[in-house]
């Protein structure tokens, strides 16, 4: 027997629950890239893992919460943002991030998304948008492009998809960006910015699903899909979110919204302080 070789540990392994790896995601899936960018952003910002809570809903990206070595809650379908709201308000010291997919966040959970954005709850929402429900085998969802083929649109999708960045901006998000899984460095920087910014921040990541969505729509391998992102994506910072196209022909990426306004937490804490002051003066 030779000498025992020291096990080489990846410098970012501490961010993952290594006893849960390998993950369940398919070969070529963009979720791993998004998770990688996310932990690199955590590392860059030296986020205290004891004070980070990652919340997810149901679906392929919903499993991301369970791979991270921090407090995490894998909730019911669509309810991640509502649950995250409770966590953040109960303990505003915590950094609360929602990682989930387009179906979870914008179909069954759409109402929670717009209201959390409207209230400006101080959470970061990162959406892996693969244009379909991957976990259940490829049904159409609120982001599926017109005419696209899925198991439930066998003759082509006749529904108009949401433009998620437009929706987020209209609902009141203070930071809105879109990237693809190809834009790893820009995506990581964008995550760092969102994590540092107070208020409801939103990043959409166009993510390849070669095994299901890609197969039904003849988009080739994961590599082919990445090549397609390179060809059709266009960086346009500051673009009007309403005009930030996302279609099989063109994907406008970049930072679209970056503004300041009081968060719900700040306002409610101010109100509590005011009420207590009035009480001490005998006013209530």
């Amino acid at each position: 027997m030779g000498e025992t070789q020291e096990l080489v540990v990846h410098p970012l392994a501490k961010y993952l629950r290594m006893d849960r790896i390998p993950h369940i995601w398919c070969e070529g899936c963009g979720n791993g890239i998004i998770l990688n960018c996310f932990i690199r952003a955590l590392d860059e910002l030296k986020i205290d893992l004891d004070k980070l809570v990652v919340v997810s809903g149901i679906g392929c990206m919903g499993r991301a919460a369970g791979y991270l070595n921090c407090d995490s809650f894998h909730t019911t379908h669509g309810r991640a943002i509502a649950l995250a709201t409770g966590i953040k308000l109960a303990n505003p010291e915590l950094k609360v991030v929602v990682l989930s997919g387009d179906g979870d966040l914008f179909a069954i959970g759409g109402n929670h998304f717009i209201h959390a954005a409207r209230r400006n709850i101080d959470i970061t929402v990162i959406c892996a948008n693969n244009f379909n429900y991957g976990m259940t085998g490829g049904q159409h969802g609120p982001t599926t492009p017109l005419d696209a083929r899925t198991t439930t649109t066998p003759y082509g999708n006749i529904e108009h998809p949401f433009n998620l960045v437009h929706l987020a901006a209209a609902a009141g998000a203070v930071y809105v960006a879109r990237w693809t899984a190809l834009h790893v460095r820009r995506l990581t920087k964008s995550m760092e910015k969102a994590l540092q910014k107070k208020g409801f921040t939103f990043i959409e990541v166009i993510s390849p699903c070669p095994e299901i969505y890609g197969r039904y729509n003849k988009l080739g391998t994961a590599l082919d899909m990445m090549k397609m992102y390179r060809e059709i994506s266009e960086i346009k910072h500051g673009c009007d979110p309403a005009k930030a196209e996302v279609s099989p022909k063109r994907i406008v990426v970049g930072e679209f919204v970056d503004l300041e306004k009081p968060t719900f937490e700040e306002s409610v804490m101010q109100q509590i302080a005011d009420v207590k002051k009035r009480i001490s003066k005998g006013g209530i």
Partner: protein, 387 residues
């Protein structure tokens, strides 16, 4: 007069039932309320919106009841006692995340001021139609605790009890009240803070590296580490092992988890269950009732006694877990059981299940108004005549 303790409004009050519930919650340590307006529970939210900021708590009005239930689970896991309040239609929406609370063993309190259903039904009228839903409303096997107040005083007392039981057993606990009790004003005596018994969730005594979030000792209730405490817990609605990790294809993990989340209530049922009895010692006819119906029933039992009928009342304070042993024992002592309730047959089915041959007479009420004492009395007299 400035109160020393704004969380506990010690003193005698003439108070609305819904307000008494809110005061009970605050006295129990609730510092987070997420809700959605609905008749006849809205006054609880209104009171919480006014009162919580005074004690440093958070009130948030969510976009719907799905979100309200999700938010209180999040708040509870972030270490704060949390509550929501609703009525039938909202309770239906909450069932999804009530299942999540049961599965993740998150302490939380849900108040349901029951009105007439199904569907939108009779929003301003009383009902007791959500009793079975409270037990069986979410999918899968799980157990809950549900208490039924019959007065504004009990709206205060039993809300505290709901918090205590919910914390002790890590289950969603329900205050199943009805519109009349919620909207009734009566004397409510709030004791001094130090006289109120408060139970808090059990915390881990081991380091994060040794801690298993779902490993329980003999009492079947695992100690609960909350978010931000350095334990890095993973909480999921999927079937999970003691580490909290999903195990979706293990027969053993599924069996052990389901048995534990049910047995922690079933095996402690005797400790949890509370009833009150009136004139049952020598009774030959026992009325079994809860909530507003129990007040009419007590009046009917007294009138029956005046007429020389040996009637008595068993008032259920705990609805779930069900007082099986108590009713089974009672059924052996009496000739008949009478069950008035404001629905078309819910708790009566449980009573029949335990009566084992002793005749059970049911008196439904579909809403609009409570049972009138003479209606229950007439049934008692009829039962007596039939021998």
């Amino acid at each position: 007069m400035e109160r020393e303790n704004r969380a506990v409004l010690t003193g005698k009050h003439f108070m609305l039932g819904d307000y008494a519930c809110a005061e009970g919650a605050i006295a129990a340590g609730c510092r987070f309320f997420a809700g959605y307006p609905i008749t006849p529970a809205t006054e609880i939210a209104e009171r919480m919106a006014r009162r919580l900021p005074e004690v440093g708590g958070i009130y948030i009005q969510m976009e719907d009841e799905l979100a309200s239930m999700a938010a209180i689970i999040g708040a509870s896991y972030a270490g704060v006692k949390a509550m929501t309040a609703t009525s039938g239609p909202g309770f239906s929406l909450m069932q999804e995340n009530i299942g999540l609370a049961a599965m993740t063993e998150t302490p939380c309190v849900v108040v349901n001021i029951m009105r007439g259903g199904p569907s939108t039904g009779q929003p301003t009228k009383p009902g007791q139609q959500d009793v079975m839903q409270a037990k069986w409303g979410s999918h899968g096997d799980y157990e809950v605790i549900a208490l039924s107040p019959a007065s504004p005083q009990e709206m205060f007392d039993l809300t505290i009890e709901c918090f205590n039981l919910s914390e002790a057993y890590r289950v969603p606990a329900f205050l199943l009240a009805d519109e009349i009790v919620g909207h009734m004003r009566e004397r409510v005596v709030i004791p001094r803070a130090e006289e109120i018994k408060i139970v808090n969730r059990k915390k881990p005594k081991v380091s994060p590296s040794e801690y298993l979030p779902y490993k329980a000792s003999d009492d079947l209730v695992p100690p609960m580490a909350c978010f931000g405490e350095g334990y890095h817990v993973h909480i999921t609605g999927l079937t999970h092992d003691e580490r909290g990790y999903p195990q979706t294809d293990s027969i053993e993990v599924q069996r052990d988890l389901i048995m534990r989340i049910c047995d922690k209530i079933r095996k402690n049922a005797d400790k949890i269950i509370k009833v009150k009895d009136f004139m049952l010692e020598d009774a030959e006819i026992a009325v079994v009732a809860y909530g507003i119906a129990s007040r009419s029933a007590l009046s009917a039992v007294r009138k029956a006694r005046e007429k020389g009928i040996r009637a008595g009342l068993l008032r259920l304070i705990t609805i779930w877990p069900f007082a099986e042993k108590i009713i089974a024992e009672l059924a052996t002592r009496v000739k008949a059981l009478v069950v008035p309730e404001m629905n078309y047959g819910q708790v009566v089915r449980e009573v029949e299940r335990m009566a084992k041959g002793t005749p059970v007479y049911f008196l439904p009420k579909f809403g609009e108004e409570p049972h009138r004492p003479f209606e229950i009395l007439e049934l008692i007299e009829k039962v007596k005549e039939n021998g």
